[in-house]
Amino acid sequence: MCLGREVVVKLKPLHIPSGSKSLRLCGKLAVIVEPVSLLGDIDVDRGLIKGIEIADRVVLMPYGIGSTVGSYIIYALRKCGKSPKALVVAKADSVTVIGAVISDVPLYQLNEVNASEGLLRSIKKYEGMVACIEGGGKRLVIGGGRS
């Protein structure tokens, strides 16, 4: 905020794994604009969602769709060392939530009034910049060069 170049998005923490409560989580930003079929759209071995690299990144996506087996895919990502540093969804769905909890992946929800795919599209241009989750999981700060 002080630099005027950073973008701040409000978040609501959905799952913060025990032991990482006070952590500030930073990683390159990855933005998936379309809903994600966890079973079909994720390449576990390479750490990709819809072709976009997600390993160790702060990943924004609208929500998960499809088979409940998708929760296991998040677990597999974690076990292969390809899971996101943090996952931020526009809308919480049960498959993603269960997957994040059993896999100890920090999960947040956009707390904006217009947490739509449109918002994700407008954030898409910051992809690759460093993004940090701060303030006890209440804020996503993109850019600003403070990583």
Binding site: A76, A92, S94, D104
Partner: protein
Amino acid sequence: MWNGEFGHVVEKAIRAVVRYGELMGAEKLVRVSHAHVSGVSIFNIGDAGLSFIEDVASGNVRFRVFTTANPYAAVSLSFNGRLFSNEVITKQHRVIESLRRLGSVAFTCAPYYVRRPRAGEHLAWAESNAVLYANSVAGAMTNREGGPIALLEALIGRAPYYGMHIRGERMPDYVIKVPRPSSYVESAVIGYLIGMLNPSKTPLVKGLPRHVPEHWVRAMLAGFGASSHQPIMFLDGISPDLRLSGGLGKSAQLERLSLDESDVREFIRDRSCLEADLLVIGCPHLSNEEVLEAFMNVASAVNGGKIRVRECWMVTGDFIDEEILKQAQQVMTAYDVRVKVLRDVCPVVTKLSELGINSICTDSAKALHYMPKLAGVDACILAGIR
């Protein structure tokens, strides 16, 4: 449980179940007396599911309630001399072994024959046909859970208290008059068509005959579960809830629809065939009540040349009565029809295309719906047999 006094796995399980409950608007958890876990077939859950289930089972935990699981993939079967790969067989056995170690006592899609739920009892069941039977026929209370969540609920013996667990939420949205079914297949198709009509609404079904056989009802529920998302379908004259809530009094204001006999007939006619690689009977698993009759019907149809298949697979669970099964097999021998009796497995969740199987015929609307995608085969309806 929150603080890890039961171990890391249980802590994770309760966190996941609570978060899931919050998402669904549940205010609390409710103790359940029986959990039924889905997501057992290796073709369904893949390496990711195997890895999770194995990790859970390697900890010092067991299911906290009576737990059954869905049938597994029929990986030990062969067709025309072709087998599944050793890798698939081994991985499937690792899933089974892990679930057994955790305490699963059976592998069937008809867990209500392993332990019959009582009316008003809270359950944590996955598997749509079982959920529909529990709610609609037994009057028990369970939401339609998914694979991972039912496993996690089994580990803590509790489920989020919302939806079907709350008496006041077990209400029909509309009334549907159905034609009187004259066979197992018609019953299955009636259920399937009701679901197609309105996948997100709960029907109250009228028009079933007073003494409709239980396996016809099960065929109907399984068909409905394949085309609808609903956990319950009220059956006039059968569902215990209708007696509890003053019966059909409130249904007077509901929208009324009807299903035409011609729609049922046309659906069957358009999808019928008399020739396939395989005949698959037992989706859901054959019960003691129906197994003898089913074998007789199939035997006479195959022997009489009415249908041409290379193999007949009759599928059931470990709950089946050995004596009845023996009689059923004698019928097949008498008719000189070879049949494979499969137990605790499910051909629907088995990639049959890997055995070189191209086509199946079945009397199940559920199998018809799922097998092209899950088993990788063409599927058609076997009409006029049972």
